[in-house]
Subunit: 517 residues, 2 copies
């Protein structure tokens, strides 16, 4: 059952109701901590079963959620019981199993990012179409008509407003989805405290051409504290369900070493006058290593750090508490279950130190270049010239998608990638002759860090970069093999050999290690 | 003789003079069309021989010039006679033979872009270091201390001001070079009319973090009409020498077809409501094909076009004259000799319709994304998934460099690449299984155009992109070979085979054609 795009694009009233009557009595002013119960009376309350019937075959659904937090959890599971429809699914980034596992068999198109195992398999086997798109550009491309339009937005909220709702632990693409959808289904989740109100800064990015985005400092607020649903057909489903947030692994020894190298790099940049004492706004990728690297900053001596990033993870929150960091701007608060409980308890205090923005603002090229953000992201592999692969194993099997890494990398003041120098007990080298897929070109990658050291690629031409990367970042077991490759290549300004580069992957396949047998 | 970077970086008074005395009597206000002869008296005039002695071994020279226009022509030739020094050479982009041929043997490092045959050979043979850098990010990276600092700026001017000079037919990186240099050598070229004054908009981009750049429309002026030399040691060399501008080839039949396809694409976008009637600001690459494509717009029915681009070439100027285009913002006016003469004659009329900006503003991600620029660039090769190679032949031999293509492509509203589908009488296919070097990733390339047709990659996943590109853009002689490759590949979300992809280059090398024997 393939979706007819032209059908999906037809803007249609889904229930034939006169949009607006539901909110006719709405007051015009919004206040913090409203009586949600009173406001609830103004909305049409429906059950999860009723909600999922609103979705039609071929629809494009925009779900809230960015990393497995802030996404609706009840309606998607009900929707999964319907066997009669196929849908397109948009989210901010990855979401929980209630969407990506439960709906995988019903998806025609999925965008822009995912981390779910079941869905990944479906994508790699060609059962679900997946367009790997920059998180920061996704909403603008959507609004520009490059992809099927959102028919129904299904979003999680912690509170209702007269003419809208307060998102929960992520903002992601919600403002864009709601703005495009005719129908909005709000999952009002009583597990999410109303006290989250006030941490969001909802600014609807206009499509270009537009005026300058008025954000000059990561602390600036340029929008509202809630998402407007004016002129939408709105339904409310009352739920109680927890985010499927993940516990993070404790930092491994090699992660600690990466953090140490990174911190010495920053210290050198400060002492040479290339960075201010409190650095520049930091972006830090998502996951265990990113979390470990951030933890390293705790005892680094740096103070008054500011983050302009996608996702606030455990360690960044701890930096706020320890007064190492002054402020965090993100689009998602993705904490381990334990840390989330503590966060809810401290929210009144922390609200002054953090803001959650839409992903097209957290990942906005205009803002990132203006603020001079330092980007720090993990990667699958990097090659000796500084090209980086973030998405595809052996160039073929997608892992998660490019996510926000390019938004930051190509506009960063200094762009950094890090990874352990080997994976799978040394079988896979992070540094390879040629990456099997290029997501970040040599033009955009400034610094590479492994537990072995820091390769500073700035001001270096290809041959110099190759030597710097091999010498500083490659694992000792792979160093000579990489030098040998370099010596054996023909060039040119760049020396390379596709066949010899391919042997590394061939070795891995045939003997279980890139080193060969 | 390798340059000791730390030496080159020492900020030193080059001549021991008390900087400032030369301009002590300078009035504070600048006026248009000043009496340059009177102002000249206030500057220290020297000969070309004297000027070149100011340069020391290991110096980094920032030359004006962007495409072979607006660069100094006398001092570099004198400098070439010195056999006792090696220097680093920065420019805006490509410049004339007086720099890139004459100084090639003396260069240690060359940045950020070049098109010169002699220099290209020196770079590919490893005799000159070349860091292939984005034109739009070069000056900020320079000011951030990533590269050796400029010691001496050598610039061409058409007029002097009390505290500065008026550039000629390009701006390029001049403001950044002059701001960093202690010593400025001005070639006051009487071949360049003083009436050029008023077309430049000189805004010195502050390094990040910075305020929003206040440019909201391609027509906006945000800076001064001249480059300030306040507090610099300034020397003036009076010259008369013409730019080595190039005549463009008349559009070939296949270029006309590319233009036709592009125009139908634009017409479709307008009729579907995805673009306004006068499109969005256009960027057009440099060279014969770009010129031909632009010429196609003349009889397209489009009106009130606006260009926000790097280089104004012959055809864009003609669009201004014909009232097809309303306004052009660029960093360089690169006309064929004949057109340049005519331009000089009409300059008073045209001054209201064009502005020359520094390259960090013409190519600025913040502005490009804000204005919603449509980028149109040529390329060496594109692969079936939409990755584009702009720089390296067979991944090894550099041609020119990435230039401004990434600045525009990764921030464009719609990014377009074009090329004839084959080169060298069909021996080389523009569409290949895997590009031999990636400058623009699949995430950033929206549309590919050849004389065969238009591949619209938006909203398509890898397999769909591959079929679209092969079907619409590949030359008939290569179509079945590409389909065969695609069918024979293993995948994954992406199906690819490095060895089979390599055979195309092997064929070319061994049999003279990618088709093989």
């Amino acid at each position: 059952m393939h979706i007819d795009e032209s059908d999906a694009r037809k803007r249609k009233r889904r229930t034939g109701r006169d949009v607006g009557t539901q909110q006719r009595d709405a007051r015009k002013t919004a206040t913090f901590y409203p009586d949600s119960h009173m406001l609830l009376m103004r909305y049409e309350r429906i059950s999860g079963e009723e909600a999922c019937k609103i979705v039609k075959n071929g629809d494009t659904i925009g779900f809230s959620g960015f990393t497995p937090v802030g996404y609706p959890k009840v309606v998607p599971l009900k929707l999964a019981e319907r066997k009669d429809i196929r849908v397109n699914v948009y989210t901010g980034a990855s979401v929980g199993e209630e969407i990506d596992t439960a709906l995988a068999d019903m998806m025609d198109l999925r965008m822009p990012y995912m981390t779910n195992k079941v869905l990944r398999e479906a994508i790699n086997e060609g059962r679900v179409r997946f367009i790997d798109t920059r998180i920061g550009k996704f909403t603008e491309e959507l609004q520009s008509g490059f992809y099927p339009e959102v028919d129904v937005a299904i979003v999680e909220a912690c509170a209702l407003k007269d003419d809208g709702f307060v998102p929960t632990t992520s903002v992601g693409a919600v403002p864009a989805f709601v703005s495009q959808a005719e129908t909005v289904i709000i999952e009002l989740n009583s597990e999410q405290p109303e006290s989250l109100e006030g941490i969001h800064d909802i600014y609807l990015l206009p499509t270009a051409p537009r005026d300058p985005i008025p954000l000059k400092d990561p602390r600036d607020r340029i929008g509202k504290t809630f998402v407007s649903t004016a002129n939408k057909e709105v339904f409310v489903v009352e739920t109680e369900a927890k985010d499927s947030s993940r516990a993070l692994a404790p930092p491994a020894e090699e992660h600690r070493k990466i953090a140490e190298h990174l911190i010495s790099f920053f210290q050198k940049e400060v002492s040479s006058g290339r960075l201010p004492k409190n650095l520049l706004p930091l972006q830090s990728g998502v996951g265990n290593i990113a979390n470990a690297v951030t933890e390293g900053l705790k005892s680094s001596g740096f103070e008054h750090l500011v983050f302009y990033t996608e996702v606030l993870q455990d360690c960044v929150l701890q930096l706020l508490r320890d007064n190492v960091a002054d402020f965090v701007s993100a689009t998602s608060i993705s904490l381990s279950p334990q840390k989330l409980e503590r966060f809810y308890g401290e929210i009144d205090e922390l609200r002054q130190k953090l803001v959650l923005r839409p992903q097209d603002i957290s990942n906005c090229p205009e803002i990132i270049s203006r603020l001079g953000v330092i980007s720090m992201n993990g990667a699958l592999e990097a090659d000796i010239y500084g090209n980086v692969n973030s998405t595809y194993i052996d160039g073929r099997e997608i892992v998660n998608g490019i996510g926000g890494s390019e938004d930051f990398t190509s506009n960063a003041y200094i762009s950094i990638f890090f990874s352990p120098s080997t994976k799978k007990n040394g079988a896979i080298s992070f540094i390879v002759p040629m990456v099997s897929h290029v997501d970040h070109t040599e033009h955009d990658v400034d610094v590479i860090v492994t537990e072995q050291g820091v390769a500073d690629l700035r001001g270096k031409e290809p041959e110099e970069r190759a030597k710097e990367i091999i010498e500083k970042c490659a694992h000792p077991a792979y160093k000579e093999k990489l030098y040998e490759y370099l010596r054996g290549c023909e060039g040119g300004h760049i020396r390379m050999d596709r066949r010899k580069a391919d042997e590394w992957y061939k070795n891995l396949k045939e003997s279980g290690s890139m080193l060969g047998s």
